[in-house]
């Protein structure tokens, strides 16, 4: 977590963002939705939407607060094979 959310003095100097030390604790909570349809006996096509939210201090990182968004929506499509 420290690698991705902390801003040390060197990165602060590079970017102009304030320093920030990410602490432990919950990183995210998320809700996922899926819908699938069988194409054949072993093949399935799947659509998915993910709604994660950074929580409990991580969202206070300037990387998130000033340059990003604590909420993220992910969506995708996949082909599955069961055997």
């Amino acid at each position: 977590m420290d690698t991705y959310f902390s801003v040390d003095s060197d990165n602060s100097r590079r970017t102009g963002l304030p320093t920030f030390a990410a602490s432990g604790g919950a990183k995210n909570v998320a809700l996922g939705l899926t819908s699938s349809c069988d194409l054949a006996r072993q093949w399935v096509v799947i659509g998915l939407v993910g709604l994660p939210r950074l929580v409990w201090g991580v969202e206070d990182s300037p990387i998130v607060k000033q340059r990003g968004d604590r909420n993220a929506v992910s969506a995708g499509m996949t082909l599955g094979y069961r055997f």
């Binding site: 602490s23 996922g32 993910g50 990003g68 993220a72």
Partner: protein
């Protein structure tokens, strides 16, 4: 509405997480919610008997955790059950070998993982100025347990602890609510939370107890 059958193997499948073995830098961005989402689906579709599976697809995800920019990434998730010899799981940023097989609510075994790099090739002009973080590979152990009918009939509550050599530990819980089948379609809902507990073996040696990062 058809009530899905949840075999033990299906419950243990639900901890599979999504990753992108084709592009390790994408791991962190899609491990969270997409993982649990696909896992929920696999639980739902495994109605009659344990099944191995392989999923290949593409997801639109944020460029890095906390980013407002999105990119499209391929991903691969899979599981092969060797019965009494255990099972192999491709679980996003990690590959796990479950020594207990898929018929037990317990899972335990070794894992190898990759921590994705953060390079400067990101859309945000300020984030791109940050120092690069190299990708790291490591090994550790994992343990999981899935409760049946924990909150309501048909749902699942799973807990997992991973220790990752040199990179701290991780606790994850996933509550899976029963899916809904309508005609040819199967729908699923999953909620999940990931906590980095930050107890390192090194810190325990040098203190009187666990140190929480």
């Amino acid at each position: 509405m058809k009530t899905p059958h949840f075999g033990k193997s299906a419950t243990s499948q639900a901890v599979v997480r999504v990753g992108d073995i084709l592009h390790p830098a994408a791991f962190v961005r899609i491990i969270g919610v997409c993982a649990a989402t696909l896992c929920a689906l696999e639980v739902a579709v495994a109605q009659e008997r344990p099944q191995n599976f392989l999923w290949l697809g593409s997801v639109s995800v944020h460029e890095f955790e906390g980013s407002k920019d999105t990119v499209s990434r391929p991903f691969l998730v899979g599981r092969v059950d060797y019965r009494q010899y255990g099972s192999l799981r491709i679980t996003g940023g990690a590959v796990q070998y479950n020594l207990l097989g898929e018929k037990s609510p317990w899972s335990f075994g070794p894992l190898v993982f990759v921590r994705p790099a953060r390079d400067r090739d990101v859309k945000d002009p300020v984030a791109s100025l940050m120092r690069e973080a190299d990708a790291k590979f490591g090994a550790g152990l994992f343990a999981q347990y899935w409760f049946r009918d924990a909150l309501t009939h048909g749902d699942r509550l799973g807990v997992e602890v991973e220790t990752r050599g040199g990179m701290g530990n991780q606790f994850t819980w996933t509550a899976f609510n029963q899916s809904l089948k309508t005609g040819a379609f199967q729908h699923g809902v999953t909620s999940t939370s990931k906590v980095k507990i930050g107890i390192s073996f090194e810190s325990m040696l040098t203190s009187t107890g666990p140190v929480w990062a």
